[in-house]
């Protein structure tokens, strides 16, 4: 048996924090990939499978016209899913987002069409209504301590009532078909040259940023990624984006609403991951008591998150109304709510709080949007359609679950 006293003394260990040399960092990265900590990859695979299945069932699925439609279709969903992701990060729920989006749509239409407010002003008012609603709900939840489920369930009912009231007798209000709002949501596309430029700029910026960070880390003597990694990612990104853009410009091109949605998703991803505010959301969702003891104002975080969620729901309602060209009593009702939550969850947001994957709302909205869109192309009767939707939804997540499982069995 090894006796440490008779053996040569083990060399004093390099402190563990310095263990990861650049080389080992990649090793570790590949390692985690191997043992399953591979983030959004499984759901992307699920998405690709969905695309393959639908394309083989109906070859129009991947044509340019339909892809542009898909972009238009998921804009509102993606925005709403971004909002609910924030709330889910706290381990809470907001059932009122559908109603709030409907209310915002109603307010937009009434102020713009009936009261003649300028388009932008009307949009602003509608969005602020969302903020107000969220602040109220958040406060009742955080300050009085009513479970968020109940507060927002009450909100679901109340704001739908208010929506009916705002719409009044008329029930349905149309936007001027040639007005700014409809034009923006339905007929505005990024000019081709700009789209191509953006699709080149994004990888470039990514690369630049990665290299700068790399330099700072090296200067601080921290482990760094190997050089080829960001370069490879940037190249792949560049090729992919250019391909997508080329495809979309066979038809109308990239809709501004889609760009807007992507910006929203990216901004909130940055907010969550790269700012102190976002870090606090993670903390509250991870361990609320630890967050409180760290001096975080938990109430403020909660209220602001509910306010943000409702604001985004209102924005989503506004976008949906502009795209539809009208609002009515049904705006925001039905599956709006459940689709948004489902998008967030499919994208990789935990319902238990504190965990979400990068760009979860976008990925989730793509999955849900692709399923809905693909099914529309197959003329199925309602019963079959429901069954198929449910099955495909489940299938898209099973891969993810299986990977996660193998990860747990590897002890994480």
């Amino acid at each position: 048996m090894a006796d440490p006293l008779t053996e040569p003394a083990v060399p004093p260990p390099t402190p563990a924090t310095e263990l990861s040399s650049p080389k080992e960092a990649v090793g570790g990265w590949l390692q985690t990939l191997r043992t399953g900590d591979i983030g959004s990859l499984p759901i992307i695979i699920g998405l690709i499978l969905i695309v393959i299945v639908f394309q083989s069932l109906n070859p129009t699925f991947l044509n340019a016209f339909n892809l542009v439609n898909l972009c238009l279709q998921i804009a509102a969903l993606g925005i709403m899913a971004t909002g609910i992701t924030l709330v889910l990060m706290l381990g809470e729920i907001d059932l009122s987002i559908g109603s709030v989006s409907g209310l915002a749509a109603a307010v937009l239409l009434v102020t713009h069409v009936n009261d003649g407010f300028a388009p932008l002003l009307a949009v602003l008012i509608a969005v602020l209504v969302g903020t107000l609603v969220g602040t109220i709900q958040g406060s009742i939840f955080a300050k009085i301590g009513v479970p968020s489920f109940i507060v927002t369930l009450a909100g679901l009912l109340i704001w739908q009532g208010v929506q009916l009231r705002v719409l009044g007798e008329q029930g349905t209000i149309n936007l001027p078909p040639a007005g700014t709002l409809v034009r923006w949501a339905q007929f505005s596309f990024v000019p081709r040259w700009l789209a191509i430029a953006l699709a080149a700029l994004i990888p470039l910026l990514y690369l630049l940023f990665s290299l700068l960070t790399r330099r700072r880390r090296a200067a601080a003597e921290l482990p760094v990624m190997p050089l080829w990694l960001p370069i490879a990612v940037a190249v792949i990104l560049f090729v992919l984006l250019q391909l997508v853009v080329a495809k979309l410009y066979l038809d109308r091109g990239v809709p501004w609403t889609f760009v807007f949605m992507v910006l929203v998703v990216v901004f909130f991803d940055w907010l969550l991951r790269r700012t102190a505010y976002g870090r606090k959301i993670f903390a509250v969702g991870g361990n609320i008591e630890a967050a409180r003891r760290a001096g975080i104002n938990v109430d403020a975080i909660r209220i602001s998150v509910f306010a943000l969620c409702s604001t985004l729901a209102a924005v989503s309602g506004v976008v949906a109304a502009m795209r539809l060209g009208f609002a009515n009593q049904q705006s925001g009702s039905g599956e709006t709510l459940i689709n948004a939550i489902a998008a967030a969850v499919i994208g990789g947001t935990s319902l238990f709080g504190g965990r979400t994957r990068r760009y979860a709302p976008l990925l989730g909205a793509l999955v849900i949007g692709a399923i809905a869109n693909g099914l529309e192309l197959l003329s199925l009767s309602s019963d079959v359609r429901l069954i198929v939707t449910g099955t495909v939804l489940l299938a898209a997540v099973v891969i993810d679950a299986l990977v996660q499982r193998s990860r747990t069995s590897h002890g994480r």
Partner: protein, 338 residues
């Protein structure tokens, strides 16, 4: 301008966009009838079918998909007639003609309109209810009014038509303001009716206006459970088999039968004509706020115990065997069906 797809010989693609599947008529009647007629008129035509499940934004998505699939005609039954203008303008941008089916698309350059008149349906319900009450020797009293979904625009139209018949009749509709049944759900109608019975008493009303057969069913269950026999005259709509059976059994007074067959077949004829580049003509028009739409309008029919045979049975909607199951055989005999 809608005819440039007609240059193609023979086949073509027709999109049938229906609004919901919660009532049986669309999936069980309109769709098969329409498809059968199209196949008969144009064996090579292909039909793209979608059902919007009561969701206007989904319908828009479906319209986009249909256009994407190469539809040359849209037969569109809008979830919300006031809101479907966007779909029309999208279709117009692709030079695809639009037939407004069953519900009128407002404020848009629609090519044809084929329908029953929704306000007329409400009116018919109201009129036959009043007539029945007068037959029973009642000239005044409360009529409990159960309307459709508060978020369904058609429910408003039924309501409007019904009021036009009831308000001048000497009867009083309760409650005020009008009750609209969330989601058209029978359970909600049942609860509401129970509340009205509690409120008005078991003999506090003389009749029940229910906007469709589902809500009528809920209301009738509530009255029966409260021990109100016979159940006062109750209206309905859609001519569901279950409602016909209730009519035979004496629980429900009437339902409104919209003969889906002529409606669907008419639509099929117009659609096929459009695919072939023809322009069917009609002398009636309906103004939808934007244009005078050339229209084919059909009359809804009231079905009571007395004319089941002449209507739903004659139209092959249901066979006598379907209606007269063992439960209802005695009642059928009494009603002269078997």
């Amino acid at each position: 301008e809608s005819g440039d797809s007609g240059s193609k010989a023979g086949g073509g693609k027709i999109a049938l966009l229906l609004p919901e599947s919660q009532t049986t008529r669309y999936e069980q009647h309109d769709r098969p009838l329409f498809e059968a007629k199209v196949k008969q008129l144009c064996p090579d035509c292909e039909i793209i079918y979608s059902n919007a499940q009561q969701d206007q934004s989904r319908q828009q998505q479906q319209a986009e998909a249909a256009l994407n699939n190469g539809a040359q005609v849209l037969v569109l039954d809008p979830v919300d007639g006031a809101a479907a203008a966007t779909i029309v303008s999208l279709a117009k941008s692709k030079n695809v003609p639009v037939i407004s089916y069953d519900r009128l698309i407002q404020n848009a350059p629609v090519d044809y309109y084929i329908s029953f008149d929704n306000e007329r349906v409400g009116q018919l319900q109201g009129e036959s209810l009043v007539n029945r009450l007068k037959e029973l020797g009642k000239t005044s009293g409360n009529i409990v009014m159960i309307n459709g979904s508060p978020t369904d625009n058609n429910a408003k139209l039924f309501n409007k038509g019904a009021h036009s018949a009831l308000d001048t009749s000497g009867f009083k509709t309760v409650p005020t303001p009008d009750f609209f049944t969330p989601e058209w759900k029978p359970e909600n109608a049942q609860k509401f009716m129970e509340g009205q019975i509690a409120q008005l008493g078991k003999d506090g009303f003389v009749g029940v206006y229910a906007a469709n057969d589902g809500t009528a069913g809920g209301a009738i269950s509530a009255m029966r459970a409260a021990g109100i026999t016979p159940v006062p005259p109750t209206t309905g709509q859609d001519a569901e088999l279950a409602a016909i059976q209730r009519i035979v059994g004496g629980d429900q007074y009437m339902t409104v039968y919209k003969a889906f067959k002529p409606e669907a077949e008419q639509a099929a004829e117009v659609a096929v004509a459009l695919v072939k580049g023809e322009k069917p003509s009609t002398d009636r028009t309906v103004n939808n706020g934007a244009v005078d739409v050339p229209s084919f309008l059909l009359e809804p029919q009231a079905v009571t115990k007395d004319n089941i045979k002449q209507t739903v049975v004659a139209d092959n909607l249901y066979t006598v065997e379907q209606i007269c199951t063992s439960t209802y055989s005695a009642a059928c005999q009494a009603a002269g069906l078997t």
